[in-house]
Symmetry: C2
Subunit: 178 residues, 2 copies
Amino acid sequence: GFPGSFPAPPVQDPMWGYFTAIAGQDGEVDADELQRCLTQTGISGSYNPFSLETCRIMIAMLDRDYTGKMGFNEFKELFTVLNGWKQNFVMVDRDGSGTVEGHELSQCITNMGYRITPQALNCIIKRYSRSGKIYFDDFVACCVKLRSLTDNFRKRDSMQQGVVNFQYDDFILCTMSV
Amino acid sequence: GFPGSFPAPPVQDPMWGYFTAIAGQDGEVDADELQRCLTQTGISGSYNPFSLETCRIMIAMLDRDYTGKMGFNEFKELFTVLNGWKQNFVMVDRDGSGTVEGHELSQCITNMGYRITPQALNCIIKRYSRSGKIYFDDFVACCVKLRSLTDNFRKRDSMQQGVVNFQYDDFILCTMSV
């Protein structure tokens, strides 16, 4: 930017104008703004719009400075990640019913590269189903948590051995924030 | 019960009739039924009714057999726990506005006996506030998670040293289910 002015916006980026319109005066996107924006963009397609709760954990997933809001880079990252999850869901939801079965959720999670035992998969399915089916909103909530928790675990597993020694306080910090 | 019959209901318990009316044919309470029942009992008082999401994690907290439903004993336990949390909240929400401030949530958590550093408390406050305030529904969601995660941690911390060595899969199991 010019000396003494605000940083210059990345004018070449087609998403910049869109971002600033959503973010409003404070220049960041909170959960309410994200919910409106995701509903407008139609990323959930014919599926139900995202719940406010899912929007809040999407922000928490990328919120490295714990402000509860999202800057432009996180906003773009979220769209990339969301599109990947949607492709996964659509591939499994072949009849376009808007829901997938428990074993299909397991398949998605395995396809994404997570190595999780059947017992843990079973408990994830129970947690995210409604009447035995998993809706797109809950599927995304599940993906967000799995990604955040795995990231938090990996950061502490410096030797990549699949084992982490957690102090209680650190355990609470990295599980309560997602 | 009589030989060959179903177990006799605990007839002396005044909550039994209430429980069976809510539980319906399958004899257990799911998240939808719990939401209706908590709204009817008026346990949230003048506060907004519980969201379905909070009802789901209340059930997950007590759901030892991972069915996604609650039997009679869990149902009674939930009412006891909920009443305790409500007392805590009401004590802090002196003007009856239905919300508490971040530092008041910290105070509640400390009053409940949790030993959590300011950094972790700060991150919990961010996660559960809306526009800087914490509503009763989110307060209960926060209490449910904190209790479940602490229980899961304690079960593994057999020497009570405040440290647990987590395998990745077990970490996911005990954090994704709540």
